[in-house]
């Protein structure tokens, strides 16, 4: 619903955008600055002076952690990027993503993409951000390929860059779907709907190649055609070329290490022990493809968003957490014929290793059923926290508090037997089968009502008459002067 540059404009109006006007090189320095920014409040960073053609931006889909801010939520920028109000509810966002409702794309087609081919430039001229090890940071982009009259968009992670060649990690399912050689485009600076749809299409179990239609269900972004391929018309940068599937069977740590050994020149960065690599690669079988460039197209003064590699709270973690939460929300609420689950989160703070579910407990033991269903539907995490249906999705602190104070440490921390497969996100000391854990921080449905402790809130601690009196005496007490919203701002 909004292209990258429109999104940046809206971020300027609605969020904290820091413009860095001094020269920052794309070769490691931009990533270091972006990484520091994620550690310190996660402002959106715009690098207006970099040596290449592309301007860079970080944090466009990121956000602060939920413990350190009052008014901002981690998903606010994604909400905004999907054209939703910045204060829209999390559940509505989850609903929108969980709808999984492909839309016909014919009406979205426009004549020409906004990016035009620039002659005489190569990938170095473009100035894409790279890590200090030279790995291109292009996980906030998609790879478009057409086969059998179907265009798909796949998530990507950079592995290596030469002047006319990009080596990319892609989902193995995509590599198996894709012809061994094909014309393709890497698209950077695309709408958020394209990124999320690519994750939904290729990283969530059953592949759904018609990703443009999935994206169309999430937003009304214009589309165009390049060759036979459908592409987001507003993409800031498009790299066209000849795609070759190099290896369909590279998977995570061991396979990546093997691939490293097989290819002396390849610079595979995915590492389970350092959390390197794009977030979507966690738990996803991957393959390596190469794109030999034939043309590079850009918009006027293109902006390429990127995600610092392996950093907490980085943009790609936000996207991956949200996409997985939406998948689970869709599946569990279609599982029992009723919809007891209010919301699901993979909090970005837990980096895909923790799932929180807010649900009505339909009957004694339902929490066990719910937690184990989630374990069945996702290989990412080994811990599920079950909280009550009244829990507020914008209050992670209270959700975690309930884990500590409401779940009985002797009875409500429930470990499975030791035969569970290892989850993808946690870093285990060994890869042997182990346990999974769910924590039941809900009220036991067998308890008498009188056992249930009410929360201390303005509404429960004070009667309506006290609150009404407080409102009446607000000016008399001078409370506007005591609240000082500037102090809240100081803390964000």
């Amino acid at each position: 619903m909004t292209g990258m540059r429109d999104h940046l404009d809206r971020l300027r109006e609605n969020d904290t955008v820091v413009e860095i006007s001094e020269l920052v090189h794309w070769d490691g320095v931009a990533e270091a600055v972006a990484a520091e920014a994620t550690r310190h409040g996660c402002p959106v960073i715009r690098f207006t002076e970099t040596p290449g053609i592309a301007r860079l931006a970080s944090g466009v889909y990121g956000g602060p952690d939920q413990f350190s801010t009052g008014g901002k939520e981690p998903w606010d920028r994604i909400d905004l990027a999907l054209g939703r109000l910045s204060d829209g509810s999390y559940v509505d966002l989850l609903d929108q993503l969980a709808r999984w409702d492909p839309d016909p794309i014919d009406s979205r087609m426009v004549a020409e993409p906004d990016a035009t081919v620039r002659h005489g430039i190569d990938l170095y001229d473009l100035g894409l951000p790279v890590t200090r090890d030279g790995v291109p940071l292009i996980s906030l982009g998609v790879l478009a390929v057409e086969a059998d009259d179907t265009t798909t968009w796949a998530p990507i992670a950079g592995r290596r860059r030469r002047s006319t060649e990009l080596e990319l990690s892609v989902p193995r399912a995509f590599a198996e779907w894709c012809p061994p050689e094909a014309d393709a485009s890497v698209l950077l600076g695309v709408p958020a709907a394209a990124l999320l749809a690519a994750l939904q299409g290729w990283t969530q179990g059953q592949p759904t190649p018609d990703v443009p239609a999935l994206a169309a269900g999430l937003g009304d972004d214009p589309l165009s055609t390049v060759g036979e391929r459908t592409v987001p018309a507003t993409a800031e940068v498009r790299i066209d070329g000849q795609l070759t599937v190099l290896d369909q069977h590279v998977n995570n740590t061991q396979d990546v290490a093997d691939a490293k050994n097989r290819s002396a020149t390849a610079d595979y960065s995915m590492s389970e022990t350092t959390r390197r690599g794009a977030a979507w690669e966690t738990g996803c079988k991957t393959a390596i493809v190469s794109l030999r460039t034939t043309a590079i197209a850009t918009r006027e003064k293109p902006t390429v968003p990127f995600s610092p590699d392996g950093e907490p709270l980085a943009d790609d973690i936000h996207l991956a957490c949200l996409a997985e939460a939406a998948k689970l929300f869709r599946r569990v609420n279609n599982y029992w014929g009723v919809s007891p689950v209010q919301w699901i989160q993979l909090p970005v703070e837990g980096r895909l290793g923790l799932c929180i579910v807010s649900s009505e407990i339909l009957y004694a033991g339902f929490e066990w059923q719910l937690a184990n269903t989630l374990f069945s539907f996702s290989d990412l995490f080994d811990k599920v926290l079950v909280i009550g249906e009244q829990a507020d999705p914008t209050d992670l602190a209270r959700a975690i508090d309930d884990m500590w104070v409401k779940a009985h440490p002797a009875n409500d921390w429930v470990f499975s037997e030791s035969n569970a497969p290892s989850a993808a996100a946690p870093i285990y000391r060994d890869k042997e089968p182990g346990s999974r854990l769910y924590i039941n921080a809900t009220w036991d449905p067998r308890w008498d009502e009188e056992y249930i402790a009410p929360r201390v809130t303005m509404e429960t601690a004070f009667s309506d008459s006290v609150l009404a009196s407080l409102a009446d005496r607000w000016d008399e007490f001078g409370l506007d002067n005591a609240i000082r919203p500037d102090r809240l701002d100081d803390h964000e």
Partner: protein
């Protein structure tokens, strides 16, 4: 600069624009606490209610922001409020390691003797004890220092057990066996059928308040630690009706005795973990024998139950600002290799996070059980061990460590082992499990658990060595672009780690 009294501390807050005087008449009956809760949630100023019958009330005077809960506590002992948590913790630890003996002053020099009531003049109900939450069992004093002596030695314990006012001369005091003062009462005085002389010092100077919430080892002179914290002797003065010494600058002192084998109703109460807990239970009876005070005394109170989630109150900030450094020092003194021990900011007293360089499983087991059998016995249910480069007060980092490094198969210990004691101030036990036993602990036992969320060296540091120079350059670029200096200082601290 030393801070000698609560009112002096409030003056400092006012100078800094952090105090909000409410001159209009306000009621102790839920109104003062409603205003305080509102300001707690908004991280607003500290409210001073100047017209509440015969005294003044101040709501949650030590509350900090959740990001920096220690800021106002630092002001109370003359420390700058802009210290990093590490600087603040180490400053407090250094002061605790250097106690200063108290000084005795005459009644004439003791502000708390400006008004003296004994005998028939005593009337607890003359003071505006706040009714804090609808549903509370009564009106409470809950931000004070309870002073009680060991009958067999010179040791005097300072603690802060809440007290529910019953009438003009009695209150019930929440005494839970396992803590120092309750143990003195249940296992010495009551067994000897003797009353325990006590003084309830309400509105003490900050250093005394801080010492009261710390777990000062048995036998030590708590006043010396308060002196150490403020870097000046604490002035003490004898009580009027018993032999106890009380801080001379206290706003209001209630002298009396806790009677053996006498109980009164106590609770329910909206408590520190954010829920109303019950049921109403029986607690020891405090009979007042004298009241002394300053003119126009200020009674501090805490809206308990609000220091959770994203909101702070006085006791949640005191937990982070006082108990954290004290616990860190205690563990180091016991010989454990501890970088920092700090409470989980969003729900203090139930969970502590310990960063340590030594992550050997048996070492962690030893440390956990040391804690659970000493100061963490009744309130704390969980300890989380993290690497020494994880900031225990950074909840994001701790959640990441829990999510990624704590293996359900190997790293969660003693869950399900229902053999340990627990205070009934919890919401996961049924009323039947809590019971109403004589010494105040729950009838049913629970589990005390710890989680090893250290990386055990599995993070491949060699693959991504921290490039301090690059990080500093990056920070400077951000700084030049307008990112707040406060963040940069914090980053530099991280780099140093």
């Amino acid at each position: 600069m030393t801070v000698d009294s609560l009112r002096e501390y409030l003056g400092i807050l006012e100078t800094r624009g952090d105090l909000h005087r409410i001159g209009a008449p306000a009621s102790w009956n839920l109104e003062a606490s409603a205003v305080t809760l509102l300001l707690n949630q908004a991280d607003g100023d500290v409210p001073l209610f100047e017209d509440v019958n015969t005294a003044r009330l101040v709501g949650d005077p030590y509350r900090g922001s959740q990001r920096r809960p220690w800021d106002r506590i630092a002001l109370g002992i003359g420390l700058p409020r802009d210290l990093s948590y590490e600087e603040y913790y180490e400053s407090v630890i250094e002061r605790l390691k250097d106690p200063i003996e108290p000084r005795t002053v005459s009644a004439a020099d003791a502000p708390c003797k400006q008004r003296v009531q004994t005998g028939d003049d005593i009337d607890l109900l003359e003071y505006p004890w706040p009714y804090i939450h609808a549903g509370d069992g009564g009106r409470y004093s809950n931000l004070h220092t309870l002073i009680a002596p060991d009958p067999d030695s010179e040791w005097v314990d300072w603690s802060y057990h809440r007290s529910m006012i019953h009438d003009g001369e009695t209150a019930s005091v929440l005494l839970l066996a396992g803590e120092q003062t309750p143990n003195l009462y249940y296992y010495k005085y009551e067994r000897r059928d003797e009353p325990m002389p006590v003084a309830l010092a309400v509105g003490v100077e900050p250093a005394v308040q801080y010492t009261s919430v710390m777990w000062i080892p048995t036998g030590r002179n708590e006043a010396e630690y308060a002196g150490g914290l403020k870097r000046e002797p604490v002035d003490l003065v004898p009580c009027e009706t018993n032999d106890l010494m009380v801080p001379a600058n206290t706003e209001l002192v209630i002298e009396g005795e806790i009677l053996p084998n006498e109980r009164r109703d106590e609770g329910p109460f909206g408590d520190y973990f954010g829920y109303m807990h019950g049921p109403r239970r029986s607690m020891p009876l405090f009979r007042v024998t004298g009241i002394t005070s300053r003119e126009d005394p200020i009674i501090p109170f805490c809206v308990e139950g609000t220091g959770v989630g994203e909101t702070e109150n006085a006791t949640s900030s005191l937990e982070v600002g006082c108990v954290g450094p004290d616990a860190t020092l205690g563990l180091r003194t016991a010989g454990f290799d501890v970088e920092c021990c700090a409470p989980w900011k969003s729900t203090p007293r139930t969970v502590y996070v310990i960063s340590t360089e030594t992550t050997d499983p048996s070492y962690l087991h030893d440390m956990a059980n040391f804690i659970f059998t000493t100061w963490g016995m009744l309130h704390v249910d969980f300890f989380v061990f993290v690497d020494d480069d994880v900031d225990p007060l950074n909840q994001r980092a701790v959640i990441e460590a829990l999510a990624l490094h704590a293996d359900p198969e190997a790293d969660f210990h003693q869950f399900g082992v229902e053999t340990m004691p627990k205070v009934p101030l919890n919401i996961y036990q049924t009323p039947t499990e809590k019971g109403n036993i004589q010494t105040g602990t729950s009838k049913a036992k629970t589990a005390k658990t710890y989680i090893n969320a250290t990386s055990d060296g599995d993070i491949d540091h060699d693959d991504s060595p921290p490039d301090v120079d690059q990080r500093c350059r990056a920070q400077q670029i951000l700084e030049r672009a307008g990112v707040e200096m406060d963040d940069i200082l914090f980053a530099e601290t991280e780099v140093k780690r």
